[in-house]
């Protein structure tokens, strides 16, 4: 019961929200060239026409398996990669094809947290230099000097400000991730794109960093796009979640709506695959699990129509010919969009476990 109330609450809230970032038809095709003249013979369609919005103050989770284009999407919206099609609007202005110089003022407002805290910090720079770099690059004047600003940032992320002169190798993985977060926060950005922010960390440290991200959001009114493959972490941290498969968004909804009532067969399969830490439910988990057969098709030559059809147990002829649009399906909460011709109904018998070997 509480769940349905929560869902209604979110649903009525959503339309009043203002979009900070909106993306339409976003595309990134990496060319495959051949021969001396670098003739383009094909393209890896990493991101192939996606639309979504990120509202001010919310956290959008982007989930999917490796190769689905979630990281590329993150790099496109922060403009670390050049989109080959579509449009990105950030805070009211079109930033799709801005050049490096023109992009620079916007970089203050959008920052990125990277996955690997070992390769994202320069080993030859002190923590002070790393966290202070954004001030120098952007030419931002700080009230009491850069050092003081950096120390305040270190305190904010739970590090000792006296460690200003230490080098990254003197810190553990979790602490390094905090240094990365401090650097991200230096210029008080509006949007933070976090690409797998906790997946390289130990379980107990993951929880610390997740809590830190939540505290900072509340304190500083940040907007997050969190890219992750761990469905339980994404559910914990996100307000809304978008599921990607082979360069497309297949389902997007409020967290409660998506996790309690997944409509796209891929989302259903993905969720049923997550191991549940309850040994007593082992047998029933196995029975309920939807086992996908085969592998994800190549993004160079994706299947026609619906891209999931080659692995979907509900696929019919129309799936091969017509690509299903990402729209709200009958009976779903507003904002719960699914790209499927035959969405999974609430009480539907899902084709059970199929033996692989």
């Amino acid at each position: 019961m509480t769940e349905s109330i929560a869902r209604e609450g979110v649903a009525t809230q959503t339309p009043s929200k203002e979009a900070l970032l909106s993306v339409t038809g976003l595309q990134k095709h990496f060319p495959i060239t051949k021969g001396l003249l670098k003739r383009q013979v094909a393209a890896v369609k990493a991101v192939d026409g996606i639309d979504f919005e990120v509202f001010k103050g919310e956290t959008l989770g982007l989930v999917g398996e490796s190769g689905c284009g979630k990281s590329t999407t993150g790099r496109l919206i922060t403009r670390l990669a050049e989109p080959t099609g579509g449009k990105i609007t950030f805070d009211g202005s079109d930033i799709t094809h801005l050049k490096t110089g023109a992009m620079r003022p916007y970089r203050r407002d959008m920052q990125m947290i990277f996955q690997d805290p070992f390769s994202s910090l320069n080993p030859r720079h002190t923590v002070g230099a790393i966290v202070g770099a954004p001030f120098h690059i952007q030419g931002v004047k700080t009230e009491h000097g850069v050092k003081r600003a950096v120390q305040d940032l270190l305190k904010l992320v739970g590090l000792n400000p006296e460690h200003y002169n230490r080098y990254p190798h003197e810190f553990s993985g979790g602490q390094r991730q905090r240094i990365g977060i401090a650097r991200t926060l230096a210029l008080k950005p509006k949007l933070i794109v976090a690409d797998e922010p906790v997946s390289a960390l130990d379980v107990s440290i993951q929880a610390q960093v997740v809590n830190l991200l939540e505290d900072l959001q509340e304190e500083l009114g940040l907007t997050y796009v969190v890219i992750a493959h761990d469905l339980s972490v994404v559910r914990h941290i996100s307000d809304r979640v978008a599921v990607m498969y082979l360069g497309k968004i297949v389902e997007v909804a409020d967290r409660e709506s998506l996790y309690s009532n997944p409509r796209h067969p891929y989302t259903v399969a993905l969720m049923s695959a997550v191991p549940v830490p309850n040994p007593r439910r082992r047998a029933s988990n196995q029975r309920e699990r939807v086992l996908l057969t085969g592998d994800v098709p190549s993004p160079i030559d994706p299947p026609s129509g619906c891209r999931f059809r080659t692995r979907c147990w509900k696929a019919q002829e129309i799936c091969a010919t017509t690509e299903p649009p990402l729209v709200v399906r009958e009976g779903d909460a507003p904002g719960h969009q699914t790209a499927c011709h035959f969405p999974v109904a609430d009480n539907e018998e899902v084709v059970g476990r199929t033996k692989t070997a």
Partner: protein, 346 residues
């Protein structure tokens, strides 16, 4: 020597590495037993000694830079004191390992089939043709489509999940009685992970082998393990059946692991309950209980936590805990404080 009652019996295993910075005690007094057909899950964070233990069981530590002591009895044969040549013959034949990253564990220059054939022919005096047939057979059994064609593919032509299947096929080539899987699904996507876990379960039933699964993912442990061993700072800090560890854990570290993990089978928690601090360095293991600097209940031990190493004591049937807190107190804290918070979301 008296007949051991378990298929694998590890007694007081210590694996120390002398380094320039001091002695690293990666594994420091580990005891456990494992029967045929059973699965043991070893859980711990990085540096807790879980992978070093698995390499130790396979006898893969170089005597020049590792000091291994204690006993590892595999069906009565001690691996620690055995002649390296003898251990080499056992490896692959009686015990085998599935590694975390199949891309780096397979040789990129040789075909998948070649590598399985090689492993099989080391231990069996058969012709190449017979071995290849065996390899095709195995690849088919682990669920690789068109095994007769894929046997001649190179590792890079396989996807991540298929590579892991091929690794499992290789590990199974000589029907080992003991199979050790070190983070077998960490590098894989969840849907592929589910397939691999199912495959491992089915194969274990078929071969009745003893399985040790090493992981940091409590979900994977809950799916596979009969018994669970929680490691911290090179020592076992809690041991029990999977149901006990998940439903009546008694060590504050185990509570912390459970509280750190968001769960899909429960309602959304507002806040995770992480363990403060970071895992210890194995050169300077904290005095007394290695977990005391991170433990919220350390003040309740009356100072013993910082000075005295707690013993691994039985607190229930087959449930061992290494903690200074009195048993009744631990059970009370779990029931009254920790568990309600963990279940708050549901």
């Amino acid at each position: 020597m008296p007949a051991p009652d378990a298929f694998l019996d590890v007694r007081d295993l210590r694996i120390h590495f002398p380094t320039d910075d001091g002695l690293v005690k990666s594994v420091d007094g580990l005891n456990f037993k494992l029967q045929r057909g059973k699965t043991l899950g070893i859980v711990g964070e990085s540096g807790s000694g879980k992978s070093v233990t698995s390499l130790g069981i396979l006898g893969l530590h170089n005597k020049r830079n590792a000091r291994v002591s204690g006993e590892i009895l595999l069906d009565g044969t001690d691996i620690v004191s055995a002649d390296p040549e003898e251990v080499r013959k056992m490896r692959g034949r009686r015990m085998a390992m599935i590694f975390q990253d199949p891309l780096s564990a397979m040789h990129p220059y040789y075909t998948v089939g070649h590598q399985i054939v090689e492993a099989y022919r080391v231990h069996n005096n058969v012709s190449k043709a017979v071995a290849k047939k065996h390899a095709i057979d195995l690849l088919g059994r682990v669920g690789i489509p068109q095994p007769d064609r894929r046997v001649d593919d190179y590792p890079h032509q396989f996807s991540g999940g298929m590579r892991q299947r091929a690794m499992i096929a290789m590990a199974l080539s000589c029907d080992p009685e003991l199979l050790i899987a070190d983070e077998p699904t960490t590098a894989l996507d969840v849907t592929v992970q589910a397939q691999i876990l199912d495959l491992m379960r089915d194969l274990q039933e078929e071969f009745n082998s003893a399985l040790i699964i090493i992981t940091h993912d409590l979900g994977v442990v809950a799916e596979l393990a009969d018994d669970v061993l929680v490691m911290y700072g090179g020592k076992c800090i809690e041991y029990g059946s999977a149901v006990t560890i998940f439903e009546e854990p008694e060590h504050p570290y185990t509570w912390g692991l459970l509280g750190s993990m968001p769960r899909l089978d429960r309602g959304v928690t507002n806040r995770l309950m992480p363990i403060k601090g970071t895992p210890p360095s194995l050169i300077n293991v904290p005095s007394g209980c290695a977990f005391h600097p991170r433990c919220a209940y350390e003040p309740q031990t009356g100072g013993r936590g910082t000075t005295e190493v707690p013993e691994l004591v039985e607190s229930g049937r087959g449930h061992l805990v290494r903690c200074h807190l009195p048993v009744a107190e631990r059970k009370r804290i779990w029931q009254e404080q920790v568990r309600p918070k963990l279940e708050a979301g549901s």
